[in-house]
């Protein structure tokens, strides 16, 4: 399996080249083009295991209910993945420690990668206004993630704060808590920052430069009611 991210950063797409028998699993709706001999199987869960409960959990996390599994038949094949918002994509190779991915940033992964949804608690989700659902990826193999805007990594050594709308993914070695941005709750809400994620420990957080919620708030008032 070979992954190349092209058209970065504005209109990035991930090109995945598969050998016969190799499979890539992707979020429903992510495929933009592929070889004619690609076999597609659609399930609500990871191929060969999982349940409808897992699929429902994925649905509430902002991902699609369905996963598609692409396998070229007989000869090597290729497939391109894209996303709705303009922005960058990244490839991450899982090799031991797991990765926590913000709901909505997941695009695709190898079948050797396991996925589980972790819900961050009702109160936190309600107040942050973001889907603070995280997808917990474990196992071995490549993962493709997307962002709204550019992706910049932060090496956390101690403590660092990231706005909940700007998280793409972070290493499992980091602990985190959803908390206030300022010294007081009043300051956090008046200042429009609301809830932020406070990371502790050592590891990398990948941030997206832009916040889809903020862009929605900017364009929303100009759109006619549906």
């Amino acid at each position: 399996m070979q992954i190349d991210v092209t058209h970065r950063p504005g209109n990035s797409a991930a090109k995945v080249t598969l050998q016969p028998g190799e499979t890539i699993t992707a979020e429903g709706g992510a495929m933009i083009a592929m070889s004619g001999h690609m076999q597609v199987e659609t399930t609500t869960h990871k191929k060969g295991e999982g349940s409808i409960v897992g699929a429902l959990k994925r649905l509430v996390s902002g991902e699609s209910l369905f996963l598609n599994h692409f396998t070229p038949a007989g000869a090597p094949g290729e497939i391109f993945f894209g996303t709705a918002l303009s922005g960058d994509m990244m490839e991450y190779n899982l090799n031991g420690p797991g990765l926590m991915v913000q709901g909505g940033s997941y695009v695709a992964s190898a079948p050797s990668v396991n996925m589980d949804i972790q819900w961050q608690g009702f109160g936190k989700t309600l107040f942050s206004g973001e889907s603070m659902f995280l997808i917990h990826l474990t196992g071995m193999g490549p993962v493709i993630l997307n962002s709204f805007g550019a992706i910049y990594p932060i090496q956390v050594n101690g403590e660092y704060i990231v706005d909940t709308g700007h998280i793409v993914a972070f290493e499992e070695s980091l602990t985190y808590e959803v908390s206030k941005a300022g010294k007081s709750w009043l300051s956090s809400f008046l200042g429009g920052e609301g809830l932020v994620c406070r990371f502790r420990g050592q590891g990398t957080v990948w941030c997206q430069s832009h916040n889809a919620g903020s862009f929605g708030a900017a364009i929303g008032p100009s759109l006619k009611p549906r």
Binding site: G149, A150, Y160, D163, G192, R198, A218, L223
Partner: protein
């Protein structure tokens, strides 16, 4: 203070490294990430009445955030505007600068934000009845949806409505038809802004209202 604009032109964001004791002021919701030991305080945007005026007239937030480094080493805060697009920094040395409502992202403490009556012509040009002015000493970061074109004007220049982002205060704005009656309305240009005077103007290559006009007919 060290600062750099990264990710431009499509996804510009601002990295600001504050030295001990330094403060930077950012508009509401501009913070994307920051060192955990920076102090964040929400304050009225220029006092209670000043904040109200800027919020309701200047298209800015009622509160702004003050990021202060009370540690003994440099600390980073990353700020970004709500829309994808480019960002610029302007150094003020006593002069004034006019911004389109909503364009302001951040500034250093020596900069004063104000709102001024821009007139019905400006409102007609979809630039707002009031304009945001920045003055004083220091750095102002501002941005817009799309790329930012810089143009030295000497005499007059025409800008499509809702595309003017920033201009020097001596520039006069006028509204007019793009061409004759027929070409203005059937050619899709409608009204345009005529900028007169001598100075720099900044034009955004896209506009949110243009995007909304494109999306709206497609919503059912």
């Amino acid at each position: 203070m060290q600062s750099s604009i990264e990710g431009g032109p499509a996804f510009a964001y601002i990295n600001i490294d504050l030295d001990p004791g330094e403060t930077v002021i950012g508009e509401s919701d501009a913070m994307s990430s920051m060192a955990a030991d920076l102090d964040l305080d929400a304050k009225f945007n220029g006092g209670f009445f000043g904040g109200l005026a800027k919020a309701f007239l200047g298209g800015e937030s009622l509160f702004v955030n003050h990021f202060t480094n009370n540690t003994n080493g440099p600390r980073r805060v990353t700020l970004v505007q709500g829309t994808p697009g480019n960002t610029r920094a302007v150094q003020l040395n006593g002069q004034e600068y006019c911004l389109q409502p909503g364009a302001y992202i951040a500034s250093t403490p020596g900069v004063t934000l104000g709102v001024k009556w821009a007139g019905f012509k400006s409102w007609f040009a979809k630039e707002g009845l009031f304009k945001l002015t920045v003055s004083g000493q220091g750095t102002v970061w501002y941005g817009a949806y799309g790329g930012l074109l810089e143009k030295d004007v000497d005499g007059e220049y025409i800008v499509d409505t809702s595309h003017l982002v920033a201009y020097e205060p001596q520039m006069k704005l006028n509204i007019q038809l793009a061409g004759g009656l027929f070409s203005s309305f059937f050619g899709g240009e409608g009204f345009v802004t005529r900028v007169e005077g001598k100075g720099k103007i900044i034009v955004q290559t896209r506009s949110l209202s243009g995007l909304a006009d494109w999306v709206n007919p497609r919503l059912w």
